[in-house]
Symmetry: C2
């Protein structure tokens, strides 16, 4: 028994072939804002430092201005913060998602919801 909503929407924004913003990068920005460092933010998400740094590097190369600013020594645990520009991008991304979730909740979704079971039937394979 879960209270999961039947609809989940994921939005990815591309810059060429790179993902400039998506669910994981948005969560990483939130974690950097909370923890004040890329290392601690990555750790809080179960992510290696190099993985977290790589995601920040991609984000910072995909937009007009950096989304994250690091202070000297940040490669070794120094501080990082989400810029005002970064907060704007994150806010617009999240607002777009909420608007689409709301827009989805009608039309075809009414038909689909009516055809969808609340939980799966048991597998015949046992």
């Amino acid at each position: 028994m879960t209270d999961r909503r039947p609809l989940k929407i994921k939005i990815q924004l591309f810059c060429g072939d790179e993902i400039a913003m998506g669910p994981g990068k948005a969560d990483l920005l939130d974690a950097i804002a909370e923890h004040g460092s890329i290392s601690a933010a990555g750790k809080s998400m179960g992510m290696s430092y190099s993985r977290a740094w790589g995601l920040v590097d991609v984000m910072n190369r995909c937009w007009n201005d950096p989304l994250v600013e690091t202070s000297p020594g940040s490669h070794h645990g120094g501080g990082a913060r989400v810029t005002e520009f970064g907060r704007t991008v994150l806010g617009e991304y999240r607002a777009l998602l909420i608007r689409l979730e709301s827009a989805a909740d009608a039309g075809e979704m009414a038909t689909l919801r009516g055809a969808l079971l609340p939980s799966p039937r048991p597998s015949r394979k046992g």
Copy 2:
């Protein structure tokens, strides 16, 4: 240089904790309709037979009626077809996606597009 659109939307429909429909399952339904068998459809997508059969099994347990019907012996390469109900679900799912892509193309997306570079800056890491 790619012509990739900057926005990609993924829609997942849940039945309890199972994914009743998503991009991979929708493509598998198209492939079953084209190839007339689960085995051939899975192979055309680079998917093992057991993986393809598992996805069909989940779909068939998540909706009011089966999306895919198999003929006897289908476990050993027999035929499969997408039911009329399955085609309806697939059509509504794809229509929802197209409607959301269209709905997204305004508002916040205008701001985000204006802030997004056409291609990433070079990495400082070289």
